[in-house]
């Protein structure tokens, strides 16, 4: 149809590519011929990546020990038995002995792991007051309602830090001892407990309330510790940079885990003679067993792990890449067969 340019009516629409829906477009046609190279390329790339990931993950060492204390699993069972029944379980100590036949390549991270612990359940997850934790004095005195029933103590004092998360703070503690020579003395391995929390958490999100007369204790005056706590928050650590709300363990704990089985970083081993890793020899971890988990079927584990560029040990990603890559190759082959069979037909059709 021809349209004379001169006789253009008042209502004649604009003849542009957009209004006439003639925008230039790439029109991919999904068929075997297109999918074929796509599948092969993706497959090969994924397999390559997967192999790399798999080997780098395999290079990571992990050493873990379940110290929950189920009967017959070690000397923590005494503590485990002891904690049954009594409301604040009595302090108890146990130990884990292990030996390393060779150097445990550093840097070594010490994690504790809890299983069957639903830090991600809704009512638990919201039970905190971030403003209080950021050191806001008003929030310190008036925790938000979400913290209930750990908002106010029985005496009516505001709880600091309030909420269920803080109340359930993990309070086992560990110390690592190294016996260089058989029968020799155990030397305490320095655990670097600083910098285990996110930098931003420690420096931005969590702040102590302003000191009163230079004393943190006075700042917290008029508040109550959470019911499960034995010490007030300002006595979590003697180190003024690691006490109160900016206690690293506390900060780490407050970052609630995604899944019911989770690890949390306890310490890094990178100081002194251990900067290269844990040398061979016998080791003992002294455990202060406080945290009751057996009641709800949880487990407590201790984990030594080295890390690589991709973080901790994670065999899954490599395997997943390999599997997906293989699947791509496989579908690629199917496509190839289809392509060969139907390509002929198409040619016939065209003739």
């Amino acid at each position: 149809m021809t349209w004379s340019a001169t006789a253009r009516g008042a209502h004649q629409p604009d003849n542009t590519a957009f209004t006439q829906q003639r925008l230039p477009a790439w029109q991919p046609l999904l068929s075997a011929s297109i999918a074929l190279p796509l599948f092969f390329c993706a497959g090969l790339a994924f397999i390559g990546l997967g192999l790399g990931l798999y080997y780098s993950s395999n290079g990571i060492k992990e050493l873990e020990y379940d110290y929950t204390g189920d009967s017959g699993t070690g000397n923590c069972s005494v503590c485990a038995a002891a904690d049954q029944g009594r409301a604040p379980p009595p302090p108890c100590s146990c130990a884990w002995n292990f030996s390393l036949p060779e150097l445990f390549q550093g840097p070594v991270y010490l994690y504790y792991e809890l299983t069957n612990f639903y830090q991600n359940n809704r009512r638990y997850g919201v039970s905190r007051d971030d403003e209080q934790l950021s050191g806001l004095p008003s929030a310190l005195r008036h925790p938000v309602n979400e913290c209930a029933p750990y908002q106010l103590s029985a005496a009516g004092l505001p709880i600091a830090p309030c909420g269920a998360i803080a109340n359930s703070l993990f309070n086992d503690s560990f110390s690592l001892w190294h016996q260089r020579l058989p029968g020799g003395l155990y030397v305490e391995v320095p655990l670097d407990r600083s910098g285990i929390a996110w930098w931003t958490d420690y420096h931005v999100k969590f702040r102590n309330p302003p000191l009163v007369n230079g004393s943190l204790a006075l700042a917290f005056q008029g508040t109550a510790p959470p019911p499960n706590w034995r010490r007030p928050v300002y006595e979590l650590s003697p180190d003024p940079n690691n006490t109160g709300f900016i206690n690293q363990d506390f900060v780490v704990w407050m970052r609630t885990a995604a899944l019911p089985t989770f690890r949390k970083l306890y310490a890094r081993i990178r100081q002194g003679n251990y900067s290269a890793g844990l040398p061979r020899g016998a080791y003992r971890v002294n455990i202060t067993y406080n945290y009751p988990v057996r009641a709800f079927g949880g487990h407590k584990l201790l984990i030594f792990s080295s890390i690589s560029w991709m973080g901790g040990k994670n065999p899954f990603l490599g395997i997943a890449y390999l599997v997906v890559g293989s699947l791509c190759i496989l579908t690629g082959f199917v496509m190839l067969i289809v392509y060969i069979r139907y390509q002929d037909q198409d040619d016939d059709d065209e003739e």
């Binding site: 349209w3 006789a7 209502h11 004649q12 629409p13 604009d14 006439q20 829906q21 925008l23 230039p24 790439w26 029109q27 991919p28 046609l29 999904l30 068929s31 075997a32 993706a42 990546l49 990931l53 792991e113 612990f117 830090q119 991600n120 809704r122 009512r123 638990y124 919201v126 905190r128 971030d130 938000v144 209930a148 269920a164 996110w198 931003t200 958490d201 931005v204 999100k205 885990a257 995604a258 899944l259 019911p260 089985t261 989770f262 949390k264 970083l265 009751p292 009641a295 709800f296 079927g297 991709m310 973080g311 901790g312 994670n314 997943a320 890449y321 699947l327 579908t331 496509m335 392509y339």
Partner: protein
């Protein structure tokens, strides 16, 4: 009472009268002092209120207010309206649920954000619409209009909004009526005015309106101050075709008011200098506004399906929440007593019972999973539809240059229905055809004149059209061609010159210009005007002319002619005057010759008759008539007319004697010159060319045809018609009556006094079926009678031939009345006229009494040319699997032949005709017939019925029957239907209950645009929207799936690993734009391939894109994808120290990437917009995430994702997961799609492949058929002539075609009720040959009815016959149109009582 009153009755006769009495309105002049005690009826209260302003009455003023809101009421009212949407209520409910602390999932304020956003968008749109309405209202309200002022005693300019009921309004030519006005005075001497109703019904022909009886006789100028009458009329109603009332004068006399007296708001005054009227209905009580229901919101099929699936989603949501709730209850039960450190008691420290916890969890889950119900879906769909409407409106290929009109979508939300149409119901005249009638052939006195030269001329028009670019005249070749096969010798050359000039004007641009010039002139195209006469007939006419000119002074001039020549003469006189054509001279300024006829002829016409002021070239003649008429009036006073017929006749004869001389001197018509000279004179002086304006194009065609034979209609006054003949000069016929056309009588008549014989003649023109029955019974005894009988049978044969060629046939007949007969008839006619109550019925009877014992003169065949590209369009549409039903009022043969011509029927298809007799309500029988055919044709496979019936032709159907057929198919076959028509008579078909065509859903300039609209836009709209809807369901299910899987790992506590911000804004911000762009712009198959392969349209009809199966497949894929997208991050981060939101954010990222890639798989065309929006979405997500995660450390409890994104961006695992997961999730879909594309490609995919392989091969096909070859003989000629038509200037002929949705029901239209009763109806049903079953069934159903039959007995009769049909019809096989009768089983061809019964 023998028949229902025509034209204005509502379907239910009972109650009408009651209504009229009980519900009337009384209108008085506002200029009068308030009616005090003398008017008890008005009531005291009303009287008080009237005193405020002059005498404003208790009725609405003319202010137009279509706005819904005021500044104050906007917010509450709009919110109230928005909350009528269940979806909005749902979302607000969910958002409000967040304010309950026990169950809240998000920050309450935040949860409100999306729903507020959606509400705000909708509110803003409503506000904008309302504002535009306000602006247009304001504009309309402030239009000026002359209103008579009581204070100033003259007409003053007022705004429209200031007009009140009872005001006197004066309007000038081309002004628009501001309100419904009762016409009281017109500048036209006969009290007529012409209006154009295009604004109301799209019809551009002029309609006549008449001054209220009693006012037209006023001697002086109408003075509103003297108007003291009281008008009683109906309450405002929306019936455009009905107005009843009466005007009560001071002296107590009553006069009836009819719709001919009412000027409707919105119409335009044409061809009349000025009118004065009193406002009857104003403002929102006007009929136009009562009809204007505003934009309508139909719900499309797709949307209904979608709503059903939304309900599935709701069910799914409830199920998921229930599952979760039970799970949470169990979890609580398991852990709460065990001093679990993570178990949080209620705020008062007590422990929560598992059941309560489960209930809370249920509610919280509903909040968390609300995303499943796509909040953005409705908004997105509206946006997509708006864009689709925009694109359809903007399509330059749907723009008609000739009329400068583009396709309009009036219904904004059913565009995708266009892609799913199964049945098209089409009107024929004006929809398939151009509604430009072209005179083709005629038969006079049993002799056929084939007009071969004319046919060739028409063929050349087509050529000229096809060579439209070649404006260079090729006169030589044309004249050569013109002489080929022509009997003409010298004249041909001359003719070719004129055709050449028209050939040039026949080109598109010229035609357009011409149409611009003659904007206000209906039905005049060069094709119509310019007719090459048949030489033999022309000779006969001029012979008559000459011999009459010689014999005119003798006693019986006509007696000197042979019977045949006398018939020829009468035939042309009848063609010329038996109509309501108005003569205008287009280039003369509309100066009115103010010749007042002091006294009207006492003879009133039934219909108002037209009167046109005289072209100035004939002014002298006119004034002489005026003076004569003035003289005449002395003789005629009151009903004394009867006593003085002879003197009148003398005068008339005197007049016609004097006329020629004046005519000769005043213009170039010369009785001495031969006919070519006068032709030349006309062509040389185009300024003096007369133009005819007709109510119907048939009339114009006939008048132009007569003009070609030098029988020129030069003037029409209300009581006189003047005809110019070359030798006889001007003959002025005294027009005694015009019995207008109506669709029940199917004929019109004029009663005239013949100036030559002084006899009173009745000329009747009408449908052959009717007229042939009204002929004078001729005795076979005498020779004359036998001859007459022979003529009749010959004529009938020719009529059949014409019909077979698809011509519209008309019979012309004459009756000579003796004085006594006339007097007798006139007596009763006047009685009928004066009876106010049943005048219409009585007039009808009166007309029937007159139109009997006719003498057959001849018959004409008029071609209603098919529009450009109609056959191609129809064949395309048929290929597309659409079933086309043509519903027409034409007779069977004509309709069938047109159907062949436009490829509705193929010659190799079997046609089965099924006729039956029916009773008054045709619906019942139609129903029966339809079911009957279905059961007969497809006893074994009722499912296949639909597919087998290819096209159906319903002949002789009235508008109401049309609508009933549509309704029937819709309700019985549950099919998607589209009704298409061009005028008011199709409205009821298009939509029941609505009279105004304004209510149509789409308006297309020409039929052929339907192809592009349906096959291209319809398909695209459907495919786009279907895919978008599916995508939205997928997207939301997949997203919700992620959350749901997480519940298994968080104790079903309704916790979410996805930050609430992402959760809430994900649908709205991050993932909304790309699907929108795809939904608006995606072209699944390129335009050219769609148009060359119409069968692709079937994908929409079969709902291939969006079926329940597709939906569930889609949902399954979504579930799978969500499982993958959840489990890979889960396993990747398992047993690590990842925290909740650091783990959730990669999942969101993965989901976003998966969505986009999924969309990528589903998107067929990638324009730069797709790329940009996809990139933008990803970018937006990361930007928002980074800003959000850096903005505040403690502001967004409980998640507080401070620095999460930043930390993630430094984590290689994040990238690794985000790279692999989408690939893994989409692998099956990609695999499936690719495999299907190669192994089992759908039609659409094949078409895409085709387009890709040969992108240049598929151009839009340009129809070039039937251009080169000239017709060899007359048999093939007309069909060639029909396949290609000349595009000439056409008045904007809108075609309305709403897709009727089943819920659109309502009162049957009252508009066309009068025509809907007991008419001949024929329903033919055809189906295409199916491979296995014997071909096809056609139902041809005739209900013939006599107009004056007795209801009861016939009803009885019809029933019995119907019964018989069912039992015996099987045996009566007929093979109407095809020779392949032997192949057909009797089951498939049925004649159900082919009786045509006329009891007269």
């Amino acid at each position: 009472m023998e028949r229902e009153p025509a034209g204005t009755e509502e379907p239910g006769p009972p109650g009408r009268r009651r209504r009229r009495e009980g519900r009337t309105r009384t209108v008085r002049s506002n200029l009068l002092p308030p009616p005090g005690a003398e008017d008890p009826a008005a009531g005291a209260a009303k009287g008080e209120r009237r005193r405020r302003r002059g005498c404003p009455q208790h009725l609405a003023d003319n202010r137009l207010k279509t706005t819904k809101y005021t500044l104050l009421s906007f917010l509450p009212k709009n919110l109230f309206e928005q909350f009528h949407r269940p979806a909005n209520v749902y979302f607000v409910f969910i958002a409000l649920l967040n304010f309950v602390p026990a169950v809240n999932a998000f920050q309450p304020g935040l949860a409100l954000a999306p729903v507020l956003f959606i509400l705000a968008i909708t509110a803003f749109r409503d506000l904008w619409e309302d504002y535009s309405r306000h602006r247009s209202d304001h504009k309309i309200n402030h239009l000026g209009c002359l209103v008579f002022s009581r204070e100033e005693k003259k007409y003053v300019n007022r705004f429209w909004k200031e007009i009140h009921v009872g005001d006197f309004v004066r309007l000038r030519c081309n002004e628009i009526f501001p309100a419904d006005i009762l016409l009281l005075s017109s500048s036209d001497p006969d009290g007529l005015c012409h209006i154009e109703t295009a604004n109301l019904d799209g019809e551009t022909n002029l309609k006549r309106r008449q001054v209220v009886r009693g006012f037209s006789e006023l001697v002086s100028e109408f003075n509103p101050l003297t108007f003291t009458s009281v008008i009683e009329c109906e309450k405002p109603n929306n019936d455009l075709s009905r107005f009843r009332g009466c005007i009560i004068h001071d002296n107590g006399k009553k006069a009836g008011l009819y719709k001919e007296n009412l000027l409707l708001r919105g119409c335009t005054l044409r061809n009349t200098d000025a009118v004065v009227g009193i406002v009857i209905y104003a403002g929102h009580e006007t009929k136009a506004l009562l009809n204007n229901s505003g934009p309508r919101y139909k719900r499309s099929k797709l949307e209904r399906q979608m709503n059903c699936d939304v309900l599935w989603c709701v069910l799914l949501l409830v199920c998921m929440s229930l599952f979760s709730a039970v799970g949470h209850g169990l979890w609580i039960w398991r852990y709460q007593e065990k001093k679990s450190l993570f178990y949080v008691p209620t705020s008062d420290g007590s422990s929560l019972s598992p059941v309560t916890a489960a209930v809370y969890s249920f509610l919280t889950m509903i909040i968390v999973l609300q995303v499943l119900i796509p909040i953005s879906l409705y908004v997105s769909i509206e946006i997509v539809k708006a864009c689709q409407v925009y694109f359809i409106n903007q399509d330059v290929q749907l723009y008609d240059e000739e009329t400068d009109s583009q396709l309009q979508c009036r219904a904004l939300n059913i565009t995708e229905d266009l892609g799913q149409i199964q049945y098209i119901f089409s009107d024929k005249t004006g929809t398939l055809t151009e509604n430009k009638m072209v005179f083709r052939r005629c038969t006079v006195s049993g002799v056929e004149y084939s007009h071969d030269a004319n046919a060739q001329r028409l063929a050349r028009y087509q050529e000229a059209d096809s060579e439209e670019e070649e404006v260079v005249p090729r006169g030589g070749s044309v004249s050569q061609r013109g002489s080929i096969g022509s009997h003409q010798s010298v004249r041909v050359v001359h003719r070719t010159q004129s055709t050449k000039s028209h050939r040039r004007t026949g080109s598109r641009a010229e035609a357009k210009r011409a149409s611009m010039l003659s904007k206000h002139t209906a039905f005049s195209s060069p094709m119509e005007k310019d007719i090459t006469p048949d030489p033999k007939l022309l000779e006969k006419v001029s012979e008559c002319d000459k011999s009459l000119a010689v014999a005119r002074h003798q006693e019986h001039p006509l007696a000197h002619l042979s019977p045949e020549l006398s018939d020829v003469f009468d035939f042309f006189i009848a063609l010329t005057i038996c109509n309501t054509v108005v003569v205008t001279c287009p280039d003369q300024p509309r100066t009115k010759v103010r010749v007042r006829f002091e006294l009207k002829s006492p003879v009133k016409t039934i219909e108002d008759f037209l009167r046109r002021f005289t072209p100035s070239c004939l002014t002298s003649g006119c004034s002489s008539i005026g003076s004569l008429a003035a003289n005449k009036s002395n003789h005629k006073s009151g009903s004394s007319f009867l006593s003085t017929p002879s003197s009148d006749g003398m005068l008339l004869r005197l007049e016609s004697l004097g006329q020629p001389t004046s005519a000769i001197t005043s213009n170039s018509y010369s009785s001495q010159a031969d006919d070519w000279a006068s032709e030349l004179a006309q062509e040389q002086e185009p300024d003096h060319e007369l133009r005819y304006e007709a109510e119907s194009p048939d009339e114009a065609a006939l008048v132009y045809a007569a003009r070609a034979y030098n029988c020129v209609l030069v003037e029409r006054l209300h009581d006189q018609v003047s005809v110019e003949l070359p030798h006889l000069g001007r003959l002025t016929f005294d027009l005694l009556h015009t019995l207008g056309f109506d669709s029940i009588r199917k004929r019109m008549s004029v009663v005239i006094r013949h100036p030559l014989t002084n006899e009173i003649n009745v000329y009747t023109k009408g449908a052959d079926s009717v007229v042939m029955d009204l002929l004078q019974p001729c005795s076979s005894v005498d020779a004359r009678g036998r001859h007459q009988k022979k003529i009749r049978s010959k004529t009938q044969n020719y009529l059949n031939l014409y019909a077979a060629e698809g011509l519209r046939t008309l019979c012309i007949a004459k009756r000579v009345l003796s004085k006594e007969e006339y007097a007798c008839w006139l007596q009763s006619h006047l009685e009928a006229e004066s009876s106010p109550e049943n005048s219409e019925e009585l007039l009808f009877q009166s007309a029937i009494r007159l139109e009997t014992n006719l003498h057959l003169l001849g018959a004409t065949g008029i071609e209603d040319r098919l529009q450009d590209g109609v056959p191609e369009t129809i064949s395309k549409l048929r290929q597309a699997g659409l079933q086309i039903w043509v519903l027409t009022g034409d007779k069977q043969e004509t309709a069938v032949n047109i159907a062949y011509a436009c490829k509705l029927l193929d010659h190799d298809e079997e046609v089965i005709t099924l006729n039956a007799t029916s009773q008054e309500a045709c619906a019942a029988l139609l129903d029966q017939c339809l079911r009957y055919v279905q059961s007969r044709g497809l006893q074994r496979a009722p499912e296949k019925t639909k597919g087998k019936c290819r096209s159906v032709l319903c002949c002789r159907s009235t508008p109401l029957q049309k609508s009933m057929v549509v309704k029937l198919v819709r309700s019985k076959l549950k099919a998607m239907t589209l009704a298409i028509g061009d005028g008011a008579n199709d409205v009821s078909m298009i939509q029941e209950g609505m009279q105004a065509v304004m209510a149509s859903d789409f308006a297309v300039p020409k039929f052929r645009y339907l192809e592009r609209l349906l096959i291209l836009h319809g398909h695209w709209c459907y495919s786009r929207l279907a895919n978008m809807v599916l995508y939205f369901f997928y997207k939301n299910t997949m997203f919700v799936g992620l959350l749901f899987w997480f519940q298994f790992f968080c104790g079903f506590s309704a916790s979410a690993m996805i930050d609430q911000w992402y959760l809430i804004f994900f649908n709205l911000l991050f993932s909304s734009l790309p699907p929108l762009v795809t939904g608006v712009l995606d072209r699944d198959v390129p335009a050219n391939v769609l148009q060359t392969n119409p069968q692709l349209y079937k994908s929409g009809q079969n709902m291939e894109e969006y079926r329940p199966r597709t939906f569930w497949f889609n949902m399954a894929d979504a579930t799978f994808q969500s499982l993958v997208c959840f489990s890979i991050p889960y396993l990747a981060y398992y047993d690590s120290n990842v925290d909740l939101f650091t783990w959730g954010t990669p999942i969101v990222t993965i989901a976003l990437l998966t969505f986009l890639l999924h969309l990528g798989i589903e998107t067929k065309t990638w324009t730069w917009l797709n790329w940009i929006t996809c990139g933008f979405s990803v970018l937006l997500f990361f930007t928002v995430a980074l800003i959000y995660n850096a903005s505040c450390a403690t502001c967004y409890p409980p998640s507080n994702p401070y620095w999460t994104m930043q930390a993630l961006l430094g984590d290689p695992v994040f990238y690794l997961t985000c790279l692999m997961t989408p690939v893994a999730a989409l692998l099956p879909r990609l695999f499936f799609r690719s495999l299907q594309g190669s192994v089992l490609p759908t039609q659409l995919q094949l078409a895409r492949q085709l387009a890709r392989k040969s992108p240049r091969r598929h151009r839009t096909p340009k129809e070039t058929s039937a251009q080169g070859c000239l017709p060899k003989d007359s048999g093939t000629e007309h069909s060639v002539g029909r396949t290609v038509s000349v595009p000439l200037s056409q008045p904007s002929w809108h075609t309305q075609q709403p897709a009727c949705s089943p819920e659109a029901s309502g009162e049957p239209s009252t508009v066309d009720m009068s025509m809907a009763l007991r008419e001949h109806t024929l329903l033919e049903r055809l189906s295409a040959p199916a491979p296995s079953l014997p071909t096809f069934s056609l139902l041809n159903w005739i209900s013939s009815w006599s107009l004056v039959s007795r209801l009861g007995s016939v009803l009885q009769f019809a029933r019995t016959e119907q019964l018989a049909d069912g039992q015996t019809g099987r045996g009566l096989a007929v093979q109407p149109h095809s020779g392949r009768s032997g192949l057909q089983g009797p089951d498939h061809r049925l004649l159900i009582g082919a009786s045509s019964r006329r009891s007269q």
